[in-house]
């Protein structure tokens, strides 16, 4: 039978954003694939060159709608590295707590989208409902539901509101209860298991060679997590484990994310216990010195890097953003080849695509 190219996207329920996946099929089997991105290019890196340092924080929020707090946190880390600022300890604990909440919310949103992709409506509604718990908590803390604009250069914007600690402990307890339920729900579903186990295998070598990071790499059995390997903020004081899985298939990626949520719950609890009292923000200088700053964090999707060049004025000379998903999606052909066309949805959904940070 003749081979043919099929365009999946830019408007396709599988894509979760605007991008195009061209797959070459022979009958039902995929023989080649080619991801095309660039439909959502907003020129954020260039936009940042015309703004002052604090004004970029709300833009960094808009890099990824799923985990906006991680990106603004990363931006603040980078500029603090450039300006050589020491952040108060309380602010560091608040930051770690909030980005772990954001990680849970992001993974839950991924799970909702994934369940929706695979036709499990119950999974979609349950996970979106429970994501609301953490979004409400973050709203009470930061004042917004999706684009928080909460970290600042030299600390965080507000202190914790009253009753926040009580609510957080309750939310974590609720979440741990729900996670058990999800495991029953998803692992007990025959359809879910049939579409996941043994599908989309990414080998350890391919994962490392193609630069894949985050849960997708850890699912291939590589123990690589920046929170442990290159600790930033107060992560060295937290007691948690890096979750890995040996199989490298879609089920392993699902498993890694589920277990990461358990670890995030642990980190939130510890951060609340260890949080000292004191100031949460210091005044940051207006102008950055001449030099460069680099920040690396473990995003829910992988390793995110920002690199900023200061030229002595109040605006950056250049801001470079390394998006984890941009690299992961380039590994898509390697993962897809050899599987059926119907598996594309499961494989690409399992990578947790986010086009906002991908195209920047």
């Amino acid at each position: 039978m003749a081979e043919m190219w099929i365009n999946m996207g830019p408007q396709h329920p599988m894509t979760h954003g605007l991008w195009n996946l061209k797959v070459k099929i022979d009958g039902e089997t995929i023989v080649d694939a080619e991801p095309e991105v660039g439909y959502l290019h907003r020129g954020i890196e260039k936009l940042c060159e015309a703004r002052t340092y604090p004004q970029i924080i709300p833009i960094a929020d808009r890099l990824c709608y799923g985990s906006s707090l991680t990106w603004s946190h990363l931006y603040c880390l980078t500029v603090e590295d450039l300006m050589d600022i020491e952040v108060p300890e309380r602010a560091e604990y608040i930051r770690v707590m909030t980005i772990e909440m954001q990680r849970i919310a992001s993974h839950l949103m991924w799970l909702a989208a994934y369940a929706g992709d695979l036709g499990l409506s119950v999974g979609f509604t349950y996970t979106m409902r429970d994501r609301e718990v953490f979004v409400d908590l973050l709203q009470a803390l930061t004042g917004s539901r999706l684009t928080y604009n909460y970290p600042r250069i030299g600390g965080v914007a507000h202190d914790l509101p009253p009753d926040f600690e009580r609510d957080t402990v309750r939310a974590v307890k609720y979440m741990e209860m729900r996670l058990k339920e999800y495991e029953d729900l998803f692992d007990g579903s025959k359809v879910f298991m049939m579409r996941n186990v043994g599908i989309g295998i990414l080998s350890k070598e391919d994962g490392i060679n193609l630069g894949v990071t985050g849960p997708s790499l850890r699912a291939s059995g590589v123990d690589y997590d920046l929170r442990k390997d290159m600790p930033y903020s107060v992560y060295p004081e937290m007691d948690f484990e890096v979750v890995t899985h040996e199989d490298g298939d879609c089920y392993a990626r699902y498993r890694v994310r589920m277990d990461e949520m358990w670890e995030s719950c642990r980190i939130i609890r510890q951060a609340l216990q260890k949080m000292p009292k004191g100031r949460w923000r210091i005044v940051a200088p207006r102008n950055a010195p001449v030099g460069t700053g680099l920040g690396r964090v473990e995003d829910p999707r992988g390793e995110a890097v920002m690199y900023v060049v200061g030229d002595g004025t109040d605006r950056p000379y250049r801001l470079k953003i390394r998006s984890p998903i941009f690299v992961t999606v380039s590994a898509a052909p390697k993962i897809l080849v050899g599987y059926k066309l119907a598996d594309v949805v499961a494989i690409m959904g399992g990578l947790d695509m986010c086009i906002g940070e991908n195209d920047r």
Partner: protein, 302 residues
């Protein structure tokens, strides 16, 4: 963690049944809905929620720091006539461009601008989203708002009353006041180190001319630029002093610069601007007003 996880039978059969039963009891028997009946009933939003702006006209000094800090340039200063306050300048906001980051409320030196919890802002006409200062005026909202920024009592100098007696510098227990001479005027003024100041208030007590008064000031997290005078080009016109929203600029006479008139008498001496930096909010309006390039303020947009 490796291998497949075996689901427990209790989770597959009993738990869903229990959940369904619980929801049934809650909705049908107790009559409580699981959702909020939105238009009739609204969600309780936290106080920090960033919605529509509210401006306290009496607290606002019209400095325009909110306009400077706005990332999207969606605010502007507008001339307003108020029966009580006279001719003033107050900021307006274009909600169609606003990204609700809240920087304008955060930078406000007098805490006059707030973000309310009002979120139903959709409109059929784009022009209606351009809110003038009168549209966002709400003088009473600030009273209901618990401001997180800390207030502190600091001495604020009224230079027109100060006679340079140095009593305040001798009285300060923290030694944070130093008398500095003002160039070419033959006068001295107290320079207060606000970082060291512990709000004892002794300097204000001893001041015989009531030039130092203890005033409540909100701490600022933004590092704003400071104006610097270039004395050679200053013509003493006083444009900057009239534009200054926080009245931090005083025009002082420079003795010895009087010109001798034709009839032999001496004219008025030249004046120069003197900045009281404790009062300065860093808005840069003096820099924009000066026609003689006598004020240097690095980093201000022109």
């Amino acid at each position: 963690m490796d291998g497949l996880r075996r689901p427990r039978p209790i989770g597959v059969v009993l738990k869903p049944m229990m959940l369904t039963g619980k929801q049934l009891v809650r909705t049908l028997i107790l009559g409580k809905p699981n959702t909020v009946l939105y238009p009739e009933e609204k969600l309780a939003l936290p106080q920090v929620y960033r919605g529509k702006h509210a401006l306290d006209f009496k607290k606002c000094i019209g400095c325009g720091n909110c306009v400077i800090v706005c990332p999207n340039d969606c605010m502007w200063l507008e001339k307003v006539e108020d029966p009580e306050l006279g001719k003033i300048e107050r900021p307006g906001v274009d909600l169609g461009r606003c990204l609700f980051c809240g920087f304008c409320a955060e930078v406000c030196p007098t805490v006059a601008l707030h973000m309310t919890t009002e979120f139903e802002l959709a409109d059929r006409d784009r022009e209606n989203l351009r809110l003038s200062p009168l549209d966002i005026r709400d003088d009473s909202f600030g009273a209901t708002f618990v401001e997180e920024r800390q207030k502190r009592l600091v001495p604020v100098l009224d230079l027109s009353k100060c006679d340079g007696c140095e009593k305040c510098a001798g009285e300060c227990p923290e030694m944070c006041i130093a008398m500095m001479p003002i160039e070419n005027t033959g006068r001295t003024k107290p320079e207060i180190n606000l970082v060291k100041c512990k709000s004892h208030g002794k300097c204000a007590e001893v001041c015989s001319e009531k030039a130092l008064t203890m005033t409540e000031v909100y701490e600022s997290y933004f590092d704003m630029p400071e104006p610097k005078l270039i004395l050679e080009t200053c013509s003493g016109c006083g444009l900057c002093a009239r534009k200054c929203p926080s009245e931090a600029i005083y025009m002082l006479e420079m003795p010895g610069t009087e010109k001798t008139l034709k009839n032999g008498t001496k004219g008025k001496p030249k004046k120069r601007a003197v900045f009281v930096l404790e009062k300065c909010v860093g808005c840069g309006r003096c820099y924009q007003a000066c026609k003689f390039d006598a004020i240097d303020m690095p980093g201000v947009r022109t």
